[in-house]
Symmetry: C2
Subunit: 264 residues, 2 copies
């Protein structure tokens, strides 16, 4: 098992923030990444569609003999992780549980959760936080325009600040002390989001905590890779490899050499 790769899937490119955290924590692990760019975004889709897409993505990764699957998309993590855990023979990790864990560790009294409509409607973060600490107050809201704003490249734009104010000022007013960035695109907007929220409110990006959980599961199973990986990481998309190569370079601060098309 040690030499086998870790599989990561996302609805598109945002999961690269989770990929990056895994590679920083576990540089010897080889990763196979799948971005379902033909059907993105997942955040505006239904539970049944998200589960079906997630099963197809996981199936693709299993055919590449991965030893563990990370569901890097919050919308998929909200709905599909229990289904995948029940049907697959490898460990499956979503980003919700690690994000909830970080929220419980960092919040004192009232935590905010933002994400896509699908993630917020699922109530997955609320459930995962409540399970750990039933006394924490939780305030959540969906921010559907953040993903298209990131994809448009308006990362530090007056419009983005105005949208962030519209979405976030109500959360600030109710007095949250930390804010879970419940969508992998949102860390790219940290500066704008932090600017609206002010210095006293901590922003929680679940990528780092997720990488920690991958580490401890592989360590416990004795499945960590101890040698340098045999080959480069593989990136697959279901549409538009050129765009993924270009925009992905911005997420990773380096060129992505190989991006192949995976038929879905």
């Amino acid at each position: 098992m040690n030499k086998k790769p870790i599989g990561v899937f996302d609805s598109g490119i945002g999961g690269l923030t989770v990929y990056r955290a895994i590679k920083q924590r576990l540089p010897r692990e080889r990763v196979i990444y799948l971005g379902d760019t033909a059907r993105l975004p997942y955040g505006s889709k239904s539970e049944s569609a998200i589960i079906r897409f997630s099963e197809e993505n996981a199936h693709f990764l299993m055919n590449h003999e991965v030893k563990l699957i990370v569901v890097a998309c919050n919308s998929s993590s909200s709905y599909a992780v229990p289904h995948l855990q029940a049907s697959l023979k490898v460990p499956v990790i979503g980003v919700i549980e690690p994000g909830a864990q970080a929220a419980v560790e960092l919040s004192r009294k009232k935590v905010g959760v933002i994400g896509t409509s699908a993630t917020i409607m699922s109530g997955a973060y609320e459930a995962a936080i409540r399970k750990r600490n039933p006394c924490l107050e939780i305030v959540s809201r969906d921010c559907p325009l953040f993903v298209p704003l990131v994809e448009e490249g308006w990362v530090d734009h007056a419009v983005t600040r105005m949208v962030a104010e519209e979405y976030l000022v109500p959360l600030k007013k109710v007095g949250i002390d930390s804010l879970v960035l419940g969508c992998t695109h949102y860390p790219v907007l940290s500066k704008v989001i932090g600017g609206v929220m002010g210095e006293g409110i901590r922003l929680i990006d679940s990528g780092v905590t997720t990488a920690g959980q991958v580490d401890s599961i592989l360590r416990n199973l004795g499945w960590l890779n101890h040698d340098p990986p045999d080959s480069e990481d593989d990136f697959y998309v279901t549409d538009f490899p050129d765009r993924f190569r270009r925009v992905g370079g911005i997420f990773l601060n380096r060129k992505i050499a190989r991006v192949s098309v995976a038929g879905n």
Copy 2:
């Protein structure tokens, strides 16, 4: 043929503006509408993906024995109409050619074209306008945030006005005299777009011209239906029928009774 329905497909809900224009012009025709809500939006997808999705949508409508297919999505019309015309045995009409026809009739000197990234990158409007009048100057640009703003319901919002200014003021400055709304969502933003452009610039919505073309093709073939339709129109989506029913009601100003899920 006269009794058979007209098939209309779109990436989602925007095509209802075209549906509405067809029903106003031809109230005796029964329509089967398919919205590919599981894979929307098409505007950020590649040419090959859009062609594949469009072929699958057309196949679904052909299985319902339609006598003519209207491609109500501009991104699909930009890339897929010639493919569909070559492979299907019924007439196929996109929204680009009728939109270009209207532009040539209404513009005097310089016409603007706005649409999704896929539509603008295709150059389909430019080609269709140039074929009719090589002397018209054409200035085009993509407006990727307009669709998510409509879907968010921010139809008359300060953010939408700011985004519209960012996108459209450069078109106004170069002196266009008309503007093709090259995406079926955009007519919903007519007020904001018109506010930025000012009174001298005509906005062109291709839905009405498309309905006119459907009328004349069916009339020439002798395929018009002369009796009241036998049954209600059918609406199919590939995901989220409840959302389509709710938001679709806003597009049509009436309740949509039956929305079924079509597996794709």
